[in-house]
């Protein structure tokens, strides 16, 4: 149920705290706790930090457009496509699987499509994006890729077997 998304371009953008308002005026950056746009999509990680991600544009192009949009504004935009592993979780059990490992409020009303948050999932830092209804994308440090893939396999096996009874 969890697929690895390969080849996604990811740019890590950090903007000086003093200049965040100016940066937002110059460039389309997601609001707090949201994901927005598509090419690139911008994911809010914090008041001075975004990921800009795309499946079609290269990181170099994204960085370039950042540089142009943010000319004169202190920022650091770097290719981070190798730094993160991305998983896509789809299906009815996706929310429950996530709920076995993270304490954020995943109720549809609180975490609807377009939500994005950085949190703790199965002990590691992760960015969780509600892409569409019941489709989630999870970003983790690439060094945890194998760990998290195994964890999702194990947890979903237990959690779905349990839900079979609990719903029963």
């Amino acid at each position: 149920m969890a697929d690895r998304i390969e080849m996604r371009s990811i740019v890590s953008l950090k903007v000086a705290r003093q200049s965040v308002d100016r940066a937002r005026a110059c460039m389309h950056l997601a609001e707090p706790l949201r994901a927005c746009g598509s090419d690139p999509q911008s994911l809010w990680l914090g008041p001075d930090r975004w990921l800009l991600v795309s499946d079609t544009t290269t990181a170099a192009v994204i960085i370039d457009s950042c540089q142009r949009a943010l000319a004169g504004i202190l920022h650091n935009a770097v290719d981070y496509s190798s730094g993160l592993a991305v998983f896509r979780l789809a299906g009815v059990g996706a929310r429950q699987l996530l709920a076995t490992g993270t304490g954020i409020d995943l109720r549809p009303a609180s975490f609807a499509a377009g939500s994005c948050c950085r949190t703790r999932l199965a002990q590691v830092a992760a960015v969780i994006v509600a892409a569409h209804a019941e489709v989630f994308e999870v970003y983790v440090d690439r060094s945890y890729e194998t760990y998290l893939a195994n964890w999702m396999a194990e947890s979903s096996s237990i959690c779905f077997s349990y839900l079979g009874v609990a719903r029963g």
């Binding site: 202190l74 650091n76 496509s81 190798s82 590691v124 440090d141 194998t146 077997s161 079979g164 609990a166």
Partner: protein, 947 residues
């Protein structure tokens, strides 16, 4: 099955689904819907186990969480589990149950000797004896006698996981009160989670036939459940117990709904964050204190009613009720209707509601108002009861069961855990909720609303006076009334002292049926009201929780996440042996024989070229007009003087002047730096920089961006390193003139792969660290590997790297330093005196203590007998025998493959001034002589590294 004990009709058991089970080797039968306890009772089993301390016979006492007698070893498919509450254990087919705590058997228990000699073992007896010659002599025997049940020996096959949840309202308890509260909230559109520990919601409705809102209880239940369902915003968990109530309305649930299936049993531990909480946890009936009140066959009145109403089980044929309150009347008056012969009601109150008396008369029950029980009698089950009637006359009545009730005590464990304060209610003779800082309400029986519309009237709960038999307070820990009296006599009068001295309330049931009696008794003895005595502290868990459930999937590889290198699999194909280094799985060496591999790899780097995966090195970009000044406050070396494209090595300190990390940093551009940290420090140092910037110097203009995982790093080291790298198309000019030691460059390979390269050396050889995006790591390693073949390239792991750097005397922070080491100790005194301005830790280094010259200083040594073994952790000692003293310790040591002798580093008092001195190294009783030497054991001038 003895049919007589099971009514033909009624109850919530499914007579079409008989289930087989075995108790103490004997085959028995029950029905779906039974608990193990109800099935045992239906099979006529009275004595089920033995008690903890005195091995007295134990029978089933209750029908709920408060069970103190029917704790059995049970195998329901996952091996024999100890201390299973038979009253909470749904009967499953093929279940096997065994008595606990009996030696050799339930009926013939030799350890009953403790009961016979009971008067020798009062509360706290062990404090008074067993002192001479010491406790060890007696301890083994005491330990063997103690303990309830045995640890299961086989591995358990259940699986565990966690579940997190949020809700507007968490309702604990699925009785009428909980269901009503849930309905109210759901109607208001709130998102409700209702949790019930029983197999189905309903609570007391499931066995109590008296009506609710004028409707039959089961009809009300069905209608309410249907309406709850219809609202669409209620989730109901059954066989799930709320066990903990923590700060911020976080509650934990032990969910056993899937725990009892044969195939793939699963237990789930929930953590719920609730907007508000409704506690509808009901109340627990309390026993009465009289002689031998622990005999099998003596049960709580409500339990007897529940067994009759819900499980169609008759717990006796000639029952006597020993009670003190109106509610219990309701329970026992329900018994005759269930075919249970109730012979007499003994109520300590003198005046009793006429309506109740009338009902008793109708059933032909003898009533003894103002009477009090003295003692029950029987060997393995109760046979008769002695009591005193209202005139004080001693009387005896034969019986095969006693229904006792000392009134209800609201289940307020969770409320107390939440920080809720309790108050004692004189009229109800129990504690009720008073106030709580968390958002919680208590409703129903848990709030003292025991009975509407009748008024609840309760009599005394005193133990019976002048009694030659023992009266039990805590059935699980075998605590008696005289134990509590003894505690008072010995001036242990605080309720907490009494608990700890007598251990009342400390057993597996945490005093659910003993705390109220104990503290009421204590109050009597010390002239205080129960309210003044107070309760002991209620703490999680409300019911004991399997440790496996608490851990969830956090086992084995999921216990602590391991980080893997991007090229992990490639290293594996090259024969890497992985070990854990600061959370990373890294190649320790390549091959099979550790020592031989390490030696081979070390020499390879010295003689040809080695390839090392350095990807975990921390990498942090720092950019902005104030970046140089900021870093100048972080590192002990000067930063602004560093030229673009150049690399510098330095240390970081904490404010106490202690070394916390080391590494190189590069000036990429005037306002742009790239920092390397140790692998272990990668996250911590990034956080450290953020903390200083955000909290201390927020006005400095810079951004900090960690990029550790983006880049895979390969170190190519050795005399042929340059040759290897120059053969890569697109590589920058690496000649010494163009790219001397401590240079940095970036570029793009012919295939479009960007790279960063810096010439730095931790091995003392000509060495480069080359970074490429981690997604390309494997292909890149292969390319270098291929390119290096003509030059004899090979792989080396961490173990040989540590030897290479030791041969050069390079510092390994955390190994050669500890949390007392400052830069002076590590030989950086000159740097500190040259540094201008403030930096982190600078002020601490001005203290006289930090500048003392008798501190432990890092020096090199070699052993006098070249090949003698010295291991890190040996100490430098002076003196012998009692005068022996440590002057420091070896922080790193090895038998150098390059130099063919044993060398090492030591933190040694006054080390810097002791060059040439011979020292004694102590290790586990062995002494080796060594000499202090220059720590740059190999190539002291650094010609190879700079060449």
């Amino acid at each position: 099955m003895r049919r007589a004990l099971r009514s033909e009709q009624g109850g919530r058991i499914d007579r079409s689904k008989p289930l087989d089970f075995v108790f103490n080797g004997k085959a028995m039968q029950g029905y779906a819907g039974d608990t193990l306890a109800s099935a045992l009772l239906a099979n006529g089993v009275r004595m089920v186990s033995r008690s903890f301390k005195f091995h007295r016979p134990r029978g089933i006492v209750s029908a709920g969480v408060e069970e103190s007698g029917g704790l059995l070893a049970v195998d329901h498919g996952t091996g024999l589990q100890p201390i299973v509450r038979s009253t909470q254990m749904p009967l499953v087919d093929g279940l096997r149950a065994e008595s606990q705590n009996c030696f050799p058997s339930l009926n013939f228990d030799l350890l009953r000797i403790f009961d016979v000699t009971r008067s020798l073992w009062p509360a706290g007896f062990y404090n008074k004896i067993f002192k001479w010659p010491n406790w060890h002599v007696y301890e083994w025997a005491v330990r063997r006698a103690a303990g309830l049940g045995r640890l299961p020996d086989g591995a358990r096959s259940a699986r565990f996981c966690h579940m997190n949840a949020h809700c507007d309202v968490l309702v604990v308890g699925g009785g009428p009160s909980g269901l009503s509260a849930a309905l109210q909230a759901a109607r208001a559109g709130e998102d409700v989670l209702l949790v019930e520990l029983d197999v189905e919601p309903g609570g007391s409705l499931l066995h109590d036939a008296s009506g609710l809102d004028g409707q039959p209880p089961l009809a009300w239940l069905a209608r309410t459940l249907a309406e709850l369902q219809a609202t669409g915003n209620v989730r109901i968990l059954t066989l799930a117990t709320v066990v903990g109530y923590y700060d911020c309305n976080v509650l934990t649930i032990h969910d056993r709904v899937a725990a009892y299936r044969r195939e793939d049993p699963i237990e789930v531990f929930w953590k719920v964050r609730a907007g508000r909480v409704v506690l509808a946890t009901g109340a627990i009936e309390q026993p009465l204190m009289f002689g031998n009140n622990d005999l099998p066959g003596i049960m709580l009145a409500g339990a007897m009613q529940k067994y009759a109403g819900r499980y169609a089980v008759r717990c006796g044929q000639r029952v006597v009720a020993v009670i003190n309150n109106d509610l219990a009347w309701r329970s026992v008056l329900a018994l005759p209707g269930a075919g249970i012969g109730l012979d007499a009601i003994i109520d300590s109150r003198h005046s009793i509601n006429d309506a109740l008396l009338d009902q008793a008369r109708e059933h032909g029950i003898d009533v003894f108002p103002g009477a009090s029980p003295v003692a029950a009698a029987g060997s393995t089950a109760v046979r008769k009861l002695q009591f005193r009637d209202h005139d004080g006359r001693a009387r005896t009545i034969a019986c095969d069961a006693i229904a006792m009730s000392g009134g209800l005590s609201p289940t307020l464990h969770l409320y107390s855990q939440a920080g809720g304060r309790l108050r004692y209610d004189q009229r109800l003779a129990c504690f009720l909720p008073q106030e709580c800082r968390q958002d919680v309400v208590v409703t129903g029986a848990a709030n003292g609303e025991f009975a509407t519309p009748e008024t609840y009237n309760i009599g005394s709960r005193k133990p019976s006076a002048a009694n030659s038999s023992v009266q039990w307070v805590d059935f699980l820990h075998d605590v008696t009334v005289s134990d509590v009296e003894l505690a008072c006599r010995e001036n242990l009068r605080s309720v907490e002292h009494v608990k700890r001295y007598t251990t009342t309330g400390m057993a597996a049931d945490q005093g659910k049926t003993s705390n109220l009696n104990a503290l009421t008794l204590l109050g009597e003895l010390t002239g205080r009201s129960p309210g003044e005595v107070g309760t002991t502290t209620f703490r999680p868990m409300f019911m004991p929780v399997t440790m496996g459930a608490i851990a969830g999937v956090r086992r084995g590889e999921f216990y602590a996440p391991a980080k893997r290198l991007a090229a992990h699999d490639w290293h594996a194909t090259q024969g890497a042996v992985f070990e854990d280094y600061g959370g990373w799985q890294r190649p320790a060496y390549y091959g099979s024989d550790r020592d031989a591999c390490v030696r081979r790899e070390t020499l390879l780097v010295r003689q040809a070229a080695g390839l090392f995966d350095a990807s975990p090195l921390g990498k942090i970009e720092v950019q902005g007009p104030d970046a140089a000044e900021f870093l100048n406050r972080i590192y002990i070396h000067s930063v602004p003087t560093l030229k673009q494209g150049k690399v510098r090595y330095s240390l970081m300190l904490n404010e106490n002047g202690i070394i916390i990390d080391d590494g190189v940093f590069v000036r990429l551009a005037d306002d742009h730096f790239l920092l390397n940290t140790t692998s272990a420090g990668a996250n911590a140092i990034a956080a450290w920089l953020e903390e200083w910037q955000q909290c201390e110097w927020p006005r400095m203009e810079l951004v900090i961006n960690p990029v550790t995982s983006q880049w895979a790093v390969v170190t190519v080291a050795g005399p042929r390193a340059r040759d290897v790298l120059c053969s890569l198309a697109g590589m920058t000019d690496l000649s010494t003139q163009a790219f001397p030691h401590m240079s940095f460059a970036s570029g793009v390979f012919e295939d479009g792969c960007p790279y960063r390269i810096q010439r730095v050396s931790f091995s003392g050889e000509l060495s480069y660290e080359l970074s490429v995006p981690a997604n390309r790591a494997t292909g890149f390693f292969e390319r270098i590997w291929d390119a290096g073949q003509p030059f004899g390239i090979g792989l080396f792991g961490i173990e040989s790297l540590m030897i290479l750097r030791l041969e050069k005397g390079f510092l390994h922070v955390g190994g050669d330093t500890d949390t007392t080491s400052n830069p002076f100790d590590a030989g950086f005194g000159r740097v500190i005196s040259n540094k201008r301005g403030d930096f982190i830790g600078a002020r601490s280094l001005q203290r006289a203590e930090d500048r003392r010259n008798d501190r432990r200083q890092l020096v090199g040594f070699e052993v006098v007998d070249r090949d003698a073994v010295v291991l890190a952790g040996a100490h430098v000692v002076t003196g012998t025998g009692d005068a022996r003293r440590s002057e420091g310790f070896v922080t790193s040591a090895c038998h150098s493959p390059t130099l063919a002798r044993t060398i090492g580093l030591a933190l040694l008092e006054r080390g810097f001034e002791r060059g040439g001195e011979e020292i004694q190294l102590y290790d586990q009783g062995r002494l080796v002589t060594a000499r202090i030497v220059d720590a740059r054991f190999y190539d002291p001038q650094g010609e190879r590294m700079h060449g």
